[in-house]
């Protein structure tokens, strides 16, 4: 649901000049949502839920499941800083925040559940040989207040279309109470993407994936990378309709004297190009993209879901190939519209 809420006065003086970063949350007053900088007293475009002390409660939500969403920060990988141990007994802020009920032994510990936290999707967690049902993968986000989870990517799996994957959120490390419970759609094509249909209203520290796939042809279950958290979501504006998607087959070829070419097949990866036209300079979407350019740059992978209603068609876990050149149509101080294109490459 998208509501473009515009008002005058509400919060304008108090909060309108504040400068909150992307992804920032306001915990006080029960708000949760994203405030973006560059807003003023009129023309807000933001996400929040606002309980009122005066007895009315309006859900003013600029959450949507139609527009481009980008997951750039992964609270699924635990805290950024902190001391002591997490609930699994591992040091906080070291990326050791997963606990698997089954893991294949390896002489070099190369099937560890901590591999779920790498950007190298080929580096997998693997269940022990023969274990394909009732597997649990538990994530301690290491954040006491928990995280709001609206976007989940489970990448490079070997799960079959018969698999069941249940995602549970809890404030209890033993999952004694269940606050979030959802079966994820599995189609057997290597990826699971979950898009919350409504804005999550409750944060949970602990998340559990319950996996069963008895008929899997392999003798184990494997997953490359799991990312989840609260995505940056485009509001109103979005990329233009024409999306360029490309599968790139990496090969080494040898042209022979028989007019043939023998290929050594090294793998296949996706590329995606999105074009943005006339983004309003003063609105949040443009600001969000600039934040991504500044933080993720061309060096960090993000999880891009251009079409959340059918997420797997264009989703890509990759890096920007370059920070795009922007074309500004400058009509005035508050009338600046921006065109640019982004290229995201899974193979970078």
């Amino acid at each position: 649901m998208t509501i473009n809420y515009q008002t005058t006065g509400y919060g304008g003086t108090a909060y309108g000049q504040a400068n909150y970063g992307v992804g920032g949350r306001l915990g006080f007053m029960g708000w949760q949502g994203k405030f973006n900088r560059n807003f003023d007293a009129i023309g807000w475009q933001s996400q929040f839920v606002s309980p009122s002390p005066f007895g009315w409660q309006a859900r003013v939500i600029l959450y949507n499941t139609n527009n481009l969403r980008i997951l750039c920060e992964f609270p699924s990988r635990g805290a950024v800083t902190g001391a002591g141990n997490n609930s699994w007994g591992n040091p906080i802020a070291t990326g050791q925040n997963w606990l698997a009920s089954s893991t294949e032994p390896s002489s070099t510990n190369d099937f560890s559940e901590f591999n779920l936290n790498t950007d190298v999707v080929e580096q997998i967690w693997r269940s022990a040989t023969g274990v394909k049902t009732s597997i649990t993968l538990d994530c301690d986000t290491e954040l006491t207040q928990g995280i709001f989870n609206d976007t989940v990517g489970v990448l490079n799996t070997n799960l079959s279309s018969s698999a069941t994957v249940r995602l549970i959120g809890s404030t209890s490390s033993t999952f004694a109470t269940i606050g979030f419970d959802e079966f994820l759609e599995v189609d057997g094509n290597g990826e699971i993407i979950f898009i919350s249909q409504t804005i999550p209203l409750t944060a949970f520290r602990y998340w559990r994936f319950e996996i069963s796939d008895a008929s899997n042809v392999a003798d184990h279950i494997s997953i490359g990378t799991i990312v989840f958290g609260s995505a940056t979501i485009f509001q109103g504006e979005c990329f233009v309709d024409k999306v360029e998607r490309q599968l790139v087959n990496f090969t080494d070829g040898i042209s022979t004297e028989a007019f043939t070419n023998v290929q050594n097949d090294r793998g296949i990866k996706k590329k995606l190009k999105l074009n943005f036209k006339n983004l309003d300079f003063k609105k949040a979407n443009y600001a969000n993209m600039i934040d991504i350019f500044n933080t993720a740059r061309t060096t960090l992978k993000c999880f891009w879901v251009p079409t959340p209603q059918f997420p797997k068609r264009f989703s890509i876990f990759g890096k920007l190939t370059e920070i795009p050149r922007e074309t500004h149509n400058v009509k005035g101080e508050n009338l600046d519209f921006v065109d640019f294109s982004i290229n995201v490459d899974e193979a970078r």
Partner: protein, 572 residues
């Protein structure tokens, strides 16, 4: 032939020629390379892609260089070591702790490096194409974004000098000055026959107490060392003194205190009852006196049946003086050791002997032994020392592996004549004797008249040296066979081929059946002389073409055929 599964490499669990053939039929394969680099604290598992092999994750950290194996050049006894340079990404500083200034820096020399090729994550399909160590040559270097690692293959361990034992003043205080530091000789084979007629005995001895005044005065026996190696026998009746230019035989009764190893003895001094007379006077040692003996050298076991065998002598030198172990040698060593026919290739019947008292590279010397009987050693695909022969009788007339146009990378097929080893007249020099420090005998001049006629009468001569063969028939046989090959205008082909040739072995005979522009080879047997691998799947081959070199079963009858197994070689 390929079936409807057009990507058999995705399900195969064995990397064999059938799979490579099937993949070639579909013009696609998926061979993958991985590297294991030992570090001061563990291993770097790296590849040019992110992948698992077995239970190990190999991260995309490098681009692979070409890895080469070779038999080396003909008539050049050098084992060529593979050297590779790997550049591992350190863009994220992850390996800084292992480098200079890092908390785990511990030096990289002698750390192991291995490169393997195989299929997917099936560990059993991975075969090593390089196994070596980081050496002081190159070692490691770092840049702002990478670590460069230079490694040489494991068989560098053969590249050591021998003999190793020397005479020291601490062990022998009365050593003559010119013998201080002298290497103790090693002796193999029968040194009781085919010797210098003048001296009668050819093995020099070393006086261990020649500076002792009591030796010179005739009151202390002269102590003589024959060799560092244990000898099978020592002939006390043929100990010869060379004084000035004259030779005298020492009385057998004066040869005393013969060591149990038969490599050391004494000559009784006149003061101790010595009876030998030199020009009518009792023998006493004088500065400049030299003594020569006859011995049968090191016993190579098995009842002594291999003591004269050149293959087993080469192997023993490598086993004794390098870090090689018996597991480093493949079965071809025993096969060629026992080869009994035909006469020119019957290694088991060819007599060889060795006397070495100066430094030589063990591997170079061993290869020179093998070269004298037309054998070559190389490091095989299993990373073992193997032997290849170019005996005509070992060549395969109809090889099962055929290279056709669709195997050959465009523009890479380059044949050329081996001008360095193209000669039509030769003479063999054989039977090196240490007392004269030269080869004592020569074969007659041998010529291939057909080849000389083809060259418009131009004689292209080359001498061939067989220092360790001492029977003329052996040296002559080898000279003839080498001349038959060298006068046949054989070509060397350099070519890059598809991964179908991955499993070829050095020394293997393959058939080349191609038609590329003006170059036509119709089922020509060729010997693989070197193989290079790279991560793109290219296999770079160097081949010997036998197109103009007939051998039994392959006699195409081209005009101008003058060499080969039945070429007429005449004596001058």
């Amino acid at each position: 032939m390929s079936n409807s599964d057009r990507k058999p490499y995705l399900s195969a669990t064995v990397l064999d020629q059938d799979l490579l053939d099937d993949s070639q039929d579909n013009l696609v394969n998926e061979l993958e390379m991985v590297a294991e680099i030992q570090t001061p604290t563990g291993f770097i598992y790296a590849s040019d892609r992110n992948k698992y092999v077995g239970d190990i994750f190999y991260e995309a950290l490098l681009k692979f260089p070409s890895v080469n194996r070779t038999i080396g050049d003909w008539l050049s006894p050098e084992l060529e070591f593979s050297t590779i340079t790997l550049e591992v990404s350190n863009a994220d500083s992850r390996f800084n702790s292992l480098l200079q200034g890092g908390v785990d820096f511990g030096g990289w020399l002698q750390k192991s490096v291995e490169i393997k090729i195989g299929l997917r994550d099936i560990a059993s399909t991975y075969t090593s194409v390089f196994k070596g160590k980081i050496t002081e040559i190159g070692g490691t270097q770092r840049s702002t974004f990478s670590i460069k690692i230079v490694a040489r293959d494991d068989f560098e361990k053969l590249d050591v000098e021998f003999p190793t034992e020397s005479l020291t003043i601490s062990s022998f205080p009365n050593l003559e000055d010119n013998l201080i530091g002298k290497l103790k000789p090693i002796i193999y084979g029968d040194w009781t026959t085919a010797l210098n007629v003048e001296s009668g005995s050819s093995i020099p001895t070393l006086a261990l107490n020649g500076k002792d005044a009591t030796v010179i005065s005739g009151s202390t026996n002269l102590d003589l060392l024959i060799s560092a190696t244990t000898n099978l026998s020592f002939d006390a009746t043929t100990v010869v003194l060379k004084r000035s230019s004259d030779f005298f035989t020492i009385d057998t009764a004066d040869i005393v205190n013969i060591d149990a190893n038969k490599n050391r003895f004494e000559i009784r001094a006149s003061g101790n009852g010595g009876t030998t007379l030199i020009d009518g006077s009792a023998f006493d040692f004088k500065k400049g006196d030299k003594f020569f003996v006859r011995v049968v050298g090191k016993d190579l076991g098995s009842g002594g049946i291999y003591n004269d065998n050149i293959v087993w002598q080469a192997r023993d030198i490598l086993l004794t003086y390098t870090d090689a172990v018996s597991g480093d040698f493949d079965a071809t060593w025993a096969t060629f050791r026992d080869k009994a026919t035909p006469a020119e290739s019957a290694i088991s019947l060819i007599k060889s002997r060795i006397y070495r008292d100066d430094e030589a590279q063990a591997i170079t010397f061993a290869l020179s032994l093998l070269e004298q009987v037309r054998l070559e050693a190389f490091v095989n695909r299993d990373l073992k020392l193997s032997i290849s022969s170019y005996h005509f009788d070992d060549l395969v007339p109809v090889p099962s592996f055929v290279v056709r146009n669709w195997d050959v990378e465009k523009g890479t097929f380059k044949p050329r004549l081996d001008t360095r080893n193209n000669f039509n007249r030769t003479r063999g020099f054989f039977n090196f004797l240490p007392d004269i420090n030269d080869n004592n005998n020569t074969t007659p001049f041998l010529r291939n008249s057909g080849a000389i006629t083809l060259a418009e009468g131009k004689l292209i001569g080359k001498g061939i040296v067989f220092p360790n063969l001492y029977l003329e028939s052996d040296a002559k046989n080898q000279s003839i066979e080498i001349l038959r090959l060298a006068s046949s205008y054989f070509e060397i082909i350099e070519v890059s081929v598809t991964p179908r040739s991955l499993l070829l072995e050095l020394g293997q005979i393959i058939s080349v059946d191609i038609s590329i522009g003006a170059v036509i080879f119709s089922g020509v047997p060729c010997m693989v002389r070197s193989i290079g691998y790279d991560a793109t799947g290219r296999i770079k081959l160097k081949l010997w073409s036998f197109q103009m070199t007939p051998f039994s079963g392959y006699e195409p009858g081209f005009a101008g055929t003058v060499g080969g197994f039945d070429a007429v070689i005449t004596e001058e």
